[in-house]
């Protein structure tokens, strides 16, 4: 019964863009219907999830399906429910935001298409999450993946957008290929596509399934160095789609990885070490690349890679706990990783939406073209600031809670006396500390350059806060960031249930027993009280005796706004320190003589993995493959013939292998 609620919600979300197709391009009825359908889908789904959490029992449903090996069997356990919450909640908030940000009246060319695929992304994500059958999982996966391709290419009249969406498509094809291979291996081992525990699996196939899953899901999640599609895709998509993609869509890769790991037998320690290493690399290099960016949305996209790294660190601790049979590590690591999935969805959604509000007002994504927005967009600024504090993992907001859980897991694991066990968590904790420091550097840079100081160009001259439809969804996300930060105990039960997919958890190592949630709330409350009290005290003291003046400029009488420290100058030292990975491109002209003429300076950090590693490699392989070009003459009927040919060959081969 409860499963039907979710099915109806999926149906509503998936069809949310369809009614709009029957209205005129100029009509805004379609977008309102879509928002209504997505909101009611969210309400239905959240009700069902609430039931799953309160009852503690998974909801199941199984229907027959004509696809061979497939079954319409869905299972909503606590883990699936945990991922369904951001899928439905953030998509509904994004749709409300879209009413103003991508209003049909202004975007008649692509508004209806965007809404159609937006709903399909949500439905695909939800199907993937609840699927209890490999075929259904892949079907949902492909719906979501291909719909996202169309959504990224919303503004396909821009060449950059077209390039970004094709890059995304190519990357996802590789990822899906890995997942096909993974599910084929699972089928080979279990003779069924049902997603069941495979405790009896020998290490060989288990490792193969793990590695294929890590590749396939890692590409979707944007794990460095598989992240190549992510920065440009997030920058090219409309902001509410970026919020959905960064906050929710890439997490489906994490869901797939956690689900697959939960089905596999007890892992060896090196899986955990691999996950911790990947997490550390993604985290540190993700934020290092972010620091070098000039485009606010590309910068936020690189932070998604960083946060996926933090989530992987949590999962790595959990896998280590499983390998060593230490349930407290499983609980701390997995709860930290999963909570960070939510938290990242919340604050990254908030940041993308508020960055979208800035782009909406200023018509530029260049951080160094903004500046001085705080007095003009006071509400958007404070919302962005909340998101920035949260993403840096600072107390008293939600990012700190999940990072603390991961830290506790890492510190706990590092107390082991075996060298192969303690070294990786120790270094991972140092990496997490470095990530925190660098993220702070990056977000003070963005907030300072875009919102503070003087305006740097005329782009922000007429900027003002957006309407309620832009602000309300951001306000909801910011409020969630604060609630989880101030009262983390509220979600402890949900996390405990979700963590149990990695095996039963004894009550002595439940999250409430391991994590200092009440102390954390107390410390946060004291912090807030001190800040508010200090603020009130200072405000009272400043009521008299204050005067206005100019910013101190060493006696220079005519400071100009172009003399401000730009975001690139702020980042220059850190970009230099990470030069070995970032490979920044600097264009600098010589400055000759005593009274030089005007000169130019430009610096740019492109994706080094894509430009320096993959493109040359693909070019050389591609040149070699050109010899097979005659197979691909561009005629459709020949391609159909290939398909028939391959099918017949497959049937013949299958008959030879399994004669009936």
């Amino acid at each position: 019964m409860i499963a039907w609620f979710v099915l109806v919600a999926i149906g509503l979300a998936g069809a949310s863009g369809v009614p709009g197709l029957f209205f005129a391009r100029s009509s805004s009825a379609g977008e309102r219907i879509a928002v209504g359908m997505l909101s009611s889908a969210a309400a239905l789904a959240l009700f069902a999830i609430g039931h799953v959490v309160i009852s503690g029992a998974a909801a199941e449903l199984s229907l027959s399906w004509a696809v061979p090996g497939g079954a319409l069997s869905i299972r909503i356990d606590a883990l699936a429910a945990f991922f369904l919450v951001p899928i439905f909640a953030i998509s509904a908030l994004g749709a409300i935001y879209g009413l103003e940000y991508w209003a049909q009246a202004q975007q008649q060319q692509n508004g209806r298409r965007l809404r159609l695929v937006y709903g399909l992304i949500v439905a695909g994500l939800a199907i993937t999450t609840v699927a209890a059958n490999g075929m259904l999982f892949l079907a949902g996966w492909e719906v979501m993946t291909l719909a996202a391709f169309v959504a990224i290419g919303t503004e396909d009249h821009l060449p950059g957008t077209r390039a970004a969406s094709y890059l995304y498509l190519v990357a996802t094809r590789v990822g899906t290929l890995c997942l096909f291979a993974m599910f084929a291996l699972i089928y080979g081992s279990t003779r069924s596509f049902a997603l069941v525990h495979m405790d009896w699996l020998t290490p060989g196939p288990a490792t193969a399934i793990f590695v294929l899953g890590l590749l396939g899901f890692g590409i979707k999640a944007g794990v460095m160095p598989l992240h190549i599609w992510l920065p440009s895709a997030h920058a090219a998509a409309p902001s509410h789609v970026s919020a959905l993609m960064s906050g929710v869509l890439i997490k489906i890769g994490i869901y797939g990885l956690v689900r697959t790991l939960s089905l596999l037998p007890t892992p060896p320690v090196w899986w955990a070490v691999l996950l911790l290493s990947l997490g550390g690399v993604s985290g540190v290099l993700g934020v290092a690349f972010a620091i070098g960016q000039h485009d606010i949305k590309r910068l936020l996209a690189y932070h998604s890679i960083e946060n996926i790294g933090i989530i992987l660190l949590g999962i790595g601790v959990a896998v280590l706990g499983r390998a060593l049979h230490r349930p407290e590590l499983v609980v701390l690591g997995l709860a930290g990783g999963l909570l960070h999935v939510w938290n990242h969805g919340l604050f990254k959604g908030l940041l993308f939406l508020s960055a979208g509000a800035v782009i909406h007002a200023c018509h530029t994504r260049e951080i160094d073209q903004l500046g001085g927005l705080l007095p003009k967009m006071p509400r958007t600024s404070i919302l962005f600031l909340i998101g920035a504090v949260a993403i840096c993992g600072l107390p008293p907001l939600n990012g700190f809670v999940s990072e603390l859980l991961v830290y506790l897991g890492l510190f706990d694991a590092a107390r082991s006396s075996q060298a192969e066990v303690w070294l990786a968590p120790s270094l991972a904790a140092a990496a997490l500390a470095l990530i925190g420091g660098l993220a702070l550097a990056c977000f003070v840079k963005v907030f300072g350059a875009a919102f503070l100081g003087h305006r740097r160009s005329n782009h922000s001259a007429a900027a003002h806060d957006g309407g309620g439809l832009l602000l309300a969804p951001m306000g909801v996300l910011a409020a969630c960031c604060m609630v989880i930060g101030l009262a983390p105990a509220t979600i402890a039960r949900f996390l405990n249930l979700a963590v149990a997919v990695f095996g039963p958890v004894p009550t002595s190592s439940s999250l409430q027993a391991l994590a200092p949630f009440s102390y954390l709330s107390l410390a946060s409350a004291i912090l807030l009280a001190c800040a508010l009290g200090g603020g009130a005290l200072l405000a009272r003291r400043l009521q008299s005796g204050t005067s206005a003046g100019l910013t101190w400029d060493c006696g220079y009488v005519a400071p100009g706004k172009r003399m401000q420290y730009s975001s690139s100058s702020f980042a220059e030292m850190l970009v230099g320190l990470f030069q070995w990975a970032l490979r920044p491109k600097v264009h600098r002209e010589r400055v000759p003589g005593f009274f030089p003429r005007p000169t130019r300076f430009a610096s740019q950090v492109d994706d080094a993995v894509l430009d320096q590693l993959l493109r040359p490699a693909i070019a050389s392989v591609g040149g070699w493959l050109n010899r097979l070009r005659w197979l691909q003459p561009g005629s459709l009927n020949l391609y159909l013939l290939y398909v028939v040919f391959a099918l017949v060959l497959g049937l013949v081969w299958a008959r030879g292998v399994h004669p009936q």
Partner: protein, 303 residues
Amino acid sequence: MKLLQIATQLAVALLLPPLLLGVIVKVKAFFAGRVGAPLLQLYRDVWKLWRKGSVFSTTTTWVFKAGPVVNLASVLVAVLLMPLGTHRALLSFAGDAILFAYLLALGRFFTIVAALDTGSSFEGMGAAREATFSALAEPGLFLGLMALARKSGSVSLSQMLGPKLLDAWFDSGGALVLVIASFFVVLLAENSRIPFDDPNTHLELTMIHEVMVLDHSGPALGMILYGAALKLFLLGALIARLVTPISTGNPWLDWLVFVVAMVGLSGLVGIVESTMARLRLLHLPRLLVAASIISVFAIILAR
């Protein structure tokens, strides 16, 4: 009795910090052959600044005023988490060491955005340096904490620096020496002391912390000065306890040991400042990376 302990602890934590900066100044004056400012100068400065008027740049917004307030608030909460000598922290739980580090980061976040709020390129420079160097100092601090956690079996500062510290010295003193060395570098970096930053320099271009607060005046500047003293006190307390792992059994004698250790540490900072030049800006990351690597050795030794 319990109430008296809490009151003593709060009084020491809130009243001692400005004295430490006075000690540093005196030691530096001694080396330079001067008399130097009085020991209690900072108390007078803070009190005087609190009663003064202030000038605000027309560029600044509420963020500029929020900077000192949030910084002071986060340092004050961090005071609750730090054990002083043999005395447990007022608030201690598993993971308080991490909260401690992140509270200092929260203070830094708001100090930096307040600096950027002025739109001054000097303050931008200082902010960029502060953000860069403190990011590089984080791994050193956390690896040092990791070594202490491995030794004590806990992620709580009060346990790490608790009664078992003396056993830890006998057991793996080498690790603790390395941790102390690494924390001392972190202390100098986080508090903008020589060789990272010269608090007495007069050229805006070369400053780090001082230039970030260039535009603050009056009560807000007082809050900043007091917050900075508290921060030095907190990181100093971490090192002072590691150096004096003993417990006399008498709480008042323990307080004396603690205060002497803190004054001694301030003297050491003063000696470092008097005998060293500040390093070239571009060489600072190497020192911070070295501190992290020292901590890794400490982890290896802490069994």
